[in-house]
């Protein structure tokens, strides 16, 4: 499953992603100039938050055991079989906000004007995601979660090498058939 990952060290909190998301996914006109004049105001599905001098963009994590899926009273929230992503079927959403209450990350947003719960669907029907494309510091990146295991294995390998003082490819990971 491909999800949007955030490099916290690269995010400068400029909120370009919020604008790009609202314009690309929320507006009729698809340009910033027309979007700001639209009513109801286009909404973003990604938010930049932070504390203590660190900022980062956060959007739906598409949790493996997603509490919002259990919470939805109308079947509007469902996991897409092909991509594994959690998405809202606007036709079925009645704006009861139960999912909002159940999202541990606070990334499902009520949109009272349209009576819809708004969340990131990773722009699954587009070639790439608006926020990722627009990030000026490349802080947002699409990663495949299945490949994270490989990244972790690589981390263990380098830790093992550092600990044992073996140089280069001398270390072998015993838990991977590689």
């Amino acid at each position: 499953m491909d999800v949007i990952a955030v490099h916290v060290d690269r995010c400068v909190g400029c909120k370009t992603c919020e604008l790009a998301c609202a314009v690309e996914r929320g507006s009729e006109g698809k340009t910033l100039l027309s979007a700001v004049r639209e009513a109801p105001q286009p909404q973003t599905r990604v938010r930049v938050e932070g504390a203590g001098g660190v900022s980062f963009a956060i959007q739906c994590r598409h949790c493996a055991d997603a509490p919002c899926l259990d919470a939805c009273l109308t079947g509007a929230l469902a996991r897409d079989a092909a991509t594994g992503l959690v998405r809202v079927n606007d036709d079925r959403c009645i704006g009861c906000w139960t999912c909002v209450m159940f999202c541990p990350y606070g990334v499902i947003f009520p949109w009272p004007e349209r009576k819809l719960a708004l969340k990131c669907d990773r722009c699954m029907h587009m070639e790439s995601s608006a926020c990722v494309d627009s990030c000026p510091t490349s802080a947002l990146e699409i990663v495949n979660v299945d490949k994270l295991a490989d990244a972790m294995a690589e981390k263990r390998r380098s830790a093992a090498m550092a600990a044992s003082g073996i140089a280069a490819d001398g270390a072998v990971l015993l838990d991977l058939a590689k």
């Binding site: 932070g50 109308t74 079947g75 009861c96 139960t98 209450m101 606070g106 009272p112």
Partner: protein, 433 residues
């Protein structure tokens, strides 16, 4: 009639039962599952019935599943379970059929409590419980000619039903026996502005009273009901939205019911580890002996999924969350319910800016045990999980009570506090003008 054997039998096809069947089929694809339900139709969203009755929703939007999609998931619909024989590991149905099981999941749900006034007499026409789809259809057909409605029970079901019917133009009176609406989940202070909101919509709210008498016309249809205060309310339709007493009659003699309650462990097993219980029918007993059940839709789904996945494993997994969290949108005013006031909890409340915005927490030993957000629900999700995590928030509770409009709770920096400045760059050619 004949006999049949299944790996798993699920009694009850509501949210909990269906999800139990789905999750077992997904987790153990080789197991054959049977669903038994007293209704002839299952696989619909019960929570949408008030909208459906009011005519705001077409029937196709109600359904999420139809029997027959999965050949290893059989159904027996429109039948009731008569008896359970634990030694033979079998159920008998009122159709005469005997069903053998390896594992059993009881998800038989609850039913509205009939007010005593109707128990003593023949129930007149126009009196309906708010529960299943078949009754909802009857209500929908009955309503257009009987537009004055009395709803008994100011809980979530009753108030939601009142709101949708009022929005559809019916005359609605809501009767609640406690001193305020939503008594199990809100404090009186929080319920008051909501009650005002309902009254402003045109719903008449009668609290601290109940129905003690009724009148019917020559055709046996209800025409008016009397409040305990002596006031007669004319009504052509009387809807009961109170209580949910599970129907556990068929479990008699099976040794599973304790003082009239079906009690399960946190892994959702009854005293018989091959029999599970989920949804509205049960109480969960946690370590220390406390019994509880949130009785919400999200909980029913969650419990169903867990019981289905636990059915054929050697080490069943306990339920993670049992928070009584629920949400409702009462005609534009969103309410998030974190949970009801427990014994010995204190109330910390703060009215927000403007009428109808309110936050309250029920606190115990510095932890949030319940509360409600009314009007402004931002940050509700993280707050829910802060509560579920049992964190000590005594230091920050004041901040959490401030209504927010951003995704994160009080601990996070919010863009609303930022000073924003823009420099206007003059258009080219206008310099020096």
């Amino acid at each position: 009639m004949g006999t049949a054997n299944y790996d798993l039998v699920v009694v009850g096809g509501g949210a909990a039962g269906l999800n139990a069947a789905f999750s077992c089929r997904e987790r153990f694809p080789e197991k054959r599952v049977l669903l038994v339900d007293r209704e002839s139709e299952i696989g619909y969203y019960r929570t949408l019935l008030p909208m459906f009755m009011a005519g705001n929703l077409t029937e196709d939007k109600l359904f999420f599943w139809k029997p027959g999609d999965d050949e290893n998931l059989d159904t027996r619909l429109g039948v009731q379970v008569r008896t359970l024989d634990r030694t033979a590991k079998s159920l008998t149905l009122d159709s005469g059929e005997t069903i053998g099981y390896a594992r059993l999941i009881l998800a038989c749900g609850g039913h509205p409590v009939v007010p005593p006034v109707f128990e003593r007499a023949v129930t007149p026409e126009g009196v309906f419980p708010v529960r299943g789809l078949s009754v909802a259809r009857e209500i929908k057909d009955w309503l257009p000619d009987h537009r004055d409605i009395v709803v008994l029970g100011g809980g979530l079901v009753g108030s939601k039903t009142s709101v949708f019917l009022r929005l559809a133009g019916f005359g609605v009176t809501l009767v609640e026996k406690e001193s305020h609406i939503l008594p199990t989940v809100l404090s009186a202070d929080t319920a008051r502005p909501l009650q005002r909101h309902l009254e402003n919509m045109g719903v008449q709210v009668k609290t601290s009273t109940t129905i003690d008498q009724f009148k019917a016309d020559g055709n046996g249809a209800v025409t008016s009901v009397r409040l305990a205060t002596g006031e007669w309310l004319p009504c052509g339709t009387f809807l009961v939205g109170i209580g949910s007493a599970p129907d556990l009659g068929f479990l008699q003699g099976a040794g599973l019911v304790e003082d009239g309650e079906l009690i399960v462990s946190p892994t959702l097993q009854t005293v018989d580890p091959e029999i599970f219980g989920v949804g509205d029918a049960i109480y969960i007993r946690v370590a220390g002996g406390d019994k509880h059940n949130p009785w919400t839709w999200p909980q029913a789904v969650n419990q169903g999924k867990l019981a289905g996945a636990n059915a054929f494993v050697t080490s069943p997994v306990p339920l993670k969350r049992t928070t009584r969290v629920n949400a409702q949108n009462i005609a534009g005013v969103p309410i998030m319910i974190l949970g009801g006031p427990g014994v010995g909890s204190s109330v910390e409340a703060r009215p927000g800016p403007g009428d109808g915005v309110w936050r309250e927490f029920f606190m115990h030993d510095g932890r949030i045990v319940g509360g409600a957000l009314v009007g402004d629900i931002a940050g509700a999700g993280p707050l829910h999980f802060t509560m579920a995590g049992g964190e000590d928030v005594s230091e920050v509770a004041d901040d959490l009570l401030v209504p927010r409009t951003r995704a994160f709770g009080a601990s996070a920096w919010s863009s609303l506090g930022q000073a924003r400045r823009a420099t206007i760059i003059p258009a080219k050619g206008n310099d020096g003008c």
